[in-house]
C-alpha cells in the first residue's frame, strides 16, 4: 500500500498510475492549514462487515455504481444473529476523479448541493493553477489571485454547485491557509488515513469512497464518491 502525503497534483497522478500498474492501493492526502483532503484509490477492494441481521434480508446485488454485495454468511454470537457481509468497492484513479461530477443524489437535490463545501472547488482550482503556471502556490500578486478566482468559479460551475456557496471570504481563507500545517488538523487527517489504511489491509469495514474533504473551520469531513459516469453496458447487443 502506498500513502502519498503532501504531493503536487502532477506527482500524485504519476504515483497513482504507477500504483495501478503495480496493482497496489493508494491513499493520497494533504493538509493546507485548516483544510485537507484524503483521496483513496483501492482499485478493486473486497472487504467484510459484521452487523446484526436486519429484518429485511440482505441480498446479493449491486448497491451503487461502485459497491456490490458478494456474499452473506451468518453466525450466532451471544444469542444474536450476526451476519457477515462481503462487499466489493470499485475505485477510479485521481486523474478521472478530478474531472468527475458529484454523485447523482447530490446533483438532484438543491439542499444537498448547498451543503457541499467550496473546498472541493478550491482544491480543483489549485491543481489547475499548479499545472497552468507550474508554481507551487498562488502568490499574493494580483494576476495570480485573479487567475485563481477565475479557475475557482469555473470549477464551481463545472460541479454544478450553486454560486452562492463559493464565497469570497472562503477563497481568501483558503489561499491564506495554503502551505501551512496545523497540528490538530494533521492529527485528525493522519488518524483517518491510518485508520482507513489499517481497515483496508485487514479487509474490514467500509473504506473511504473516494474523496474525503476536511474543513477545519466548520469541523466537517464529508466524503464524496467522485467517479466518471460510464454509460450502462448494453448487453443486448452481441
Amino acid at each position: 500500500m502506498i500513502i502519498a502525503t503532501d504531493l503536487q497534483f502532477e506527482t500524485l497522478k504519476t504515483v497513482n498510475a504507477a500504483c495501478r500498474l503495480a496493482n497496489r492501493p493508494l491513499y493520497g492526502a494533504s493538509t493546507h492549514g485548516v483544510y485537507g483532503f484524503i483521496f483513496a484509490d483501492l482499485i478493486d477492494h473486497e472487504y467484510v462487515i459484521e452487523r446484526e441481521k436486519p429484518n429485511i434480508p440482505t441480498q446479493i446485488k449491486v448497491e451503487s455504481a461502485t459497491r456490490s454485495i458478494i456474499a452473506i454468511n451468518t453466525k450466532k454470537e451471544n444469542g444474536k444473529q450476526i451476519e457477515i457481509v462481503t462487499k466489493r468497492e470499485l475505485y477510479s484513479p485521481i486523474i478521472l476523479a478530478n474531472t468527475s461530477p458529484l454523485p447523482s443524489e447530490y446533483l438532484t437535490s438543491r439542499r444537498r448541493k448547498l451543503q457541499v463545501p467550496p473546498l472541493l472547488t478550491c482544491l480543483r482550482a489549485l491543481w489547475e493553477f499548479q499545472s497552468l503556471t507550474s508554481q507551487l502556490l498562488p502568490s499574493t500578486s494580483h494576476a495570480d489571485l485573479q487567475l485563481f478566482t477565475t479557475l475557482a468559479t469555473e470549477k464551481h460551475k463545472e460541479l454544478q454547485l450553486p454560486a452562492e456557496t463559493l464565497r469570497s471570504d472562503f477563497l481568501r481563507s483558503f489561499l491564506q491557509n495554503l502551505g501551512s500545517e496545523i497540528a490538530p488538523v494533521t492529527a485528525f487527517l493522519g488518524g483517518q488515513v491510518a485508520q482507513d489504511a489499517i481497515n483496508v489491509l485487514g479487509q474490514r469495514e467500509q473504506p473511504i469512497q473516494n474523496f474525503l474533504l476536511f474543513d477545519g473551520e466548520e469541523s466537517k469531513g464529508p466524503v464524496y464518491a467522485l467517479h466518471p459516469i460510464f454509460p450502462p453496458i448494453d448487453t443486448s447487443l452481441s
Partner: protein, 168 residues
C-alpha cells in the same frame, strides 16, 4: 554521508528508509520491568504477545475473506509513505502503533527549523541533515512500538538485504 548535508543544492535522489517489524514479540518484552509492560499493555493485547494464545474460533471458511486473519494481515503488510511532513508523521505514528509489518519512508528533503514545529519524530539536533539520515538515528518510532527496528536505507543498500523485503 557528508555530501548529503549540503543545503546549497537539493539532493534529488529519493531517499528510501525502511522501518520494519523484525524483533519477535517474546524477545522484546522478556526483559522489561512490570511497569514498562503496563505501558505497552494495549499493544501486547493487540498483537497477542502473551505466551498463551487466545482461543481462536474456527474460521468461517464459506467467505473468501476470513475475519480472524486481519491482525495477521496487518503484521505482514508493508506500507510506503511518500513525503515526510506533519501529516505523514501522524500517519506513520498510527500505523506503527497498530503493529504494521513494515513502513518505508520516501523523502529526500533536508530538515529545516520549520519542520521542528510540525514534526514530532525529529528534534533540533537534526536540522540541516537529510530526513533519512535523521530517521536513521531517531529512537522515536522504536519507542512507539518495541518490535520494530530500522532495517536500513534502500538507496545506499546500507544494512538492508533485499530478500527481506515483503512482497505484499
Amino acid at each position: 554521508m557528508k555530501h548529503l548535508c549540503r543545503n546549497s543544492h537539493r539532493w534529488l535522489k529519493p531517499s528510501v528508509l525502511v522501518w520494519s517489524t523484525t524483533r519477535r514479540p517474546q524477545e522484546c518484552f522478556a526483559d522489561k520491568e512490570p511497569d514498562e509492560i503496563a505501558l505497552y499493555d494495549r499493544q501486547i493485547r493487540l498483537w497477542g504477545v502473551k505466551a498463551q494464545e487466545r482461543q481462536v474460533a474456527a474460521p468461517d471458511r464459506s467467505s473468501s475473506i476470513h475475519l480472524a486473519d486481519s491482525p495477521q494481515r496487518l503484521r505482514t503488510a508493508s506500507v510506503l509513505v511518500i513525503t515526510m511532513r506533519a501529516l505523514a508523521n501522524e500517519v506513520v505514528k498510527n500505523l506503527v502503533l497498530a503493529g504494521i509489518g513494515s513502513v518505508t519512508i520516501l523523502d529526500d528533503h533536508l530538515v529545516t527549523e520549520d519542520d521542528l514545529g510540525s514534526q514530532f519524530l525529529i528534534s533540533d539536533q537534526h536540522i540541516g541533515t537529510n530526513v533519512r539520515k535523521l530517521l536513521t538515528v531517531a529512537p522515536k518510532p522504536i519507542s512507539l512500538n518495541l518490535m520494530i527496528a530500522r532495517l536500513g536505507d534502500l538507496t545506499t543498500g546500507q544494512g538492508f538485504k533485499p530478500r527481506n523485503f515483503p512482497s505484499s
